[in-house]
């Protein structure tokens, strides 16, 4: 074995790039949980919907990709709004199990709706971006692009939450919703904005995933559970915790795949998750927002 293993380095870099997208996914889910206090079980299926939006606009209707892609952000953002208004808002004050069941129902609805319209086929937007070669490293340009966009999306959200008044109100509602309404904030509006934002994050993730993967109705299963696991590991609702947990998990998967197989690395990741839950049920990072 060489003194310096380029393949291992490649695996680590791919892990980081993959981590960026996972972190973006976790961010949207965490945002809703932290503010609205609801877990969107169907979050990955919103991402799937975004991928189909791009597919339909670009391939079926022939829109240019640069126009079709942003529509995923708008479209899934609107879906987030509708999900909150129609499904979450009416049962917000009922026990959490109702919300889990309702969004779980949405998951199956979206999967089957997609199957009905698009069939179970794997579809892709037929875009092949070059593979970059840096010395002896081969890095997929689409992954690099995804990573960059994910980081930009996260920075954007961070600035929105920390610099704007609506953003500050969102953070404040996450801390104490009763007080915020007594201070004149319409919490219902804050929930709607947050849900739309989380939807938009799912839409952005859809763009990044559709660049790398085929879309099919059950694609949510390939990253939904792991996104949820990352959120729990980072401390549900903790945006920063989820960010770091995403990179920990992505490295385990990436390096695990390098030494063994992808399947095995997912097993390792989930075993680690179970161990972490035994030792620190509140997540690696304390739960907060």
């Amino acid at each position: 074995m060489a003194l310096f293993d380029f393949f291992l380095l490649e695996a680590i870099i791919n892990g980081i790039l993959f981590g960026g997208v996972l972190a973006l996914l976790a961010l949207g889910l965490n945002l809703v949980f932290g503010v609205v206090d609801v877990i969107w079980i169907a979050y990955a299926e919103l991402v799937m919907s975004g991928m189909y939006i791009i597919y339909t606009l670009h391939i079926t209707w022939g829109w240019p990709l640069l126009l079709a892609a942003p529509m995923a952000i708008v479209g899934v953002g609107l879906m987030g709004l509708v999900v909150h208004r129609l499904i979450i808002a009416p049962i917000l004050d009922t026990p959490p199990i109702n919300q889990l069941l309702a969004t779980g129902g949405l998951l199956f609805f979206l999967q089957n709706f997609a199957t009905l319209i698009f069939g179970a086929d794997f579809r892709n937007i037929g875009l092949s971006l070059p593979i970059l070669q840096i010395f002896e490293l081969y890095i997929s340009f689409s992954r690099l692009l995804s990573f960059g966009a994910a980081v930009l999306g996260m920075i954007g959200l961070y600035l929105f939450l920390s610099r704007t008044y609506i953003g500050t109100a969102i953070r404040a509602v996450a801390q104490d919703r009763e007080i915020m309404s007594l201070m004149g904030v319409n919490t219902k509006k804050v929930y709607l904005i947050t849900s739309a934002l989380a939807g938009a994050m799912a839409g952005l993730a859809a763009i990044l995933l559709v660049l790398q993967q085929d879309v099919h109705p059950f694609i949510g299963f390939s990253f939904g559970p792991i996104t949820f696991m990352i959120c729990v590991m980072g401390g549900l609702g903790n945006l920063i915790g989820g960010f770091f947990a995403a990179f920990i998990i992505s490295q385990i998967i990436s390096i695990g795949s390098f030494y063994g197989s992808t399947e095995l690395s997912y097993v390792i990741a989930f075993v680690l998750f179970i161990i972490v839950m035994f030792i620190r049920p509140q997540g690696i990072f304390k739960r907060n927002t």
Binding site: Y165, T168, Q175, E178, I179, S181, L182, M183, G184, V185
Partner: protein, 243 residues
């Protein structure tokens, strides 16, 4: 200004407030006293909209506000503080107050205006006006002041102050009573002041109302209340509160 007509609130089978009626006149400080669990805080929660009344109605400046959401009631001009301070610990002191100024008053629409308002209020209350002071550095008295600052920054005409003096030493209590008096006389804000320590309260309030087990048992001038046999009975075994 505020007309509370026979409001009741039950939590399950427990009647926390039982057909309580009272009026608040513009410009006065009304003291609301009673032992722990007598329903004082619940009355505040009903007025501010945090809880829905089980019966009765509340009118503010001639308008029926029964059943309105807390944010609407806040915009109409009623603000409240909490017995146990509930600041946003992850926001700075100035941010805490700016936020309530920004969202609490419809007339303010620029962040700069809100920040100026917050600074002004902090100055009146006697808290630092810089943008670096963290909430976590404030002591008990500072946190109580912050509660007050947040409420005032929404530009209320009626302030519901919930046991502002719990956990303070004697000198801090006197200061806080002076602050409330100042808010009334200088800013022209009407105040309902909930308290279970009667001594300091009696000095600045115009009228007192006494609750016990969710019912109004007395109402009158501070002097009358202090000598009311029913009130003395309620406070019996808690002589310190009368001192």
């Amino acid at each position: 200004m505020l007309v509370v007509d026979s409001i009741s609130k039950s939590f399950g089978g427990f009647l926390a407030v039982n057909r309580v009626s009272f009026e608040v006149q513009e410009g006065e400080i009304l003291g609301l006293i009673g032992p722990n669990g007598s329903g004082k805080s619940t009355v505040f929660n009903l007025i501010s909209g945090a809880h829905k009344v089980t019966g009765g109605s509340i009118r503010f400046e001639g308008r029926n506000i029964t059943g309105l959401t807390p944010d609407k009631i806040c915009h109409l001009g009623i603000a409240r503080t909490f017995q146990i301070p509930r600041p946003f610990k992850k926001l700075s002191l100035l941010e805490n107050v700016t936020l309530s100024a920004y969202f609490g008053d419809d007339a303010l629409r620029s962040p700069e205006e809100a920040r100026d308002r917050a600074r002004k209020v902090l100055e009146i209350i006697g808290l630092p006006t810089d943008d670096r002071t963290e909430v976590t550095t404030l002591g008990a008295a500072g946190l109580k002041k912050l509660e007050l600052a947040r409420a005032l920054s929404t530009q209320p005409r009626l302030l519901l102050a919930d046991e502002s003096l719990g956990g303070l030493d004697h000198q801090e209590m006197e200061q806080a009573a002076d602050t409330l008096n100042h808010i009334r006389t200088e800013l022209g804000i009407t105040i309902v002041w909930v308290e279970h320590i009667m001594g300091v309260l009696m000095r600045v309030v115009d009228r007192v109302m006494v609750l016990d087990y969710g019912e109004k048992i007395a109402e009158g001038l501070p002097k009358e209340i202090a000598n009311d046999p029913k009130v003395i009975e309620v406070y019996l075994g808690n002589q310190q509160a009368l001192a």
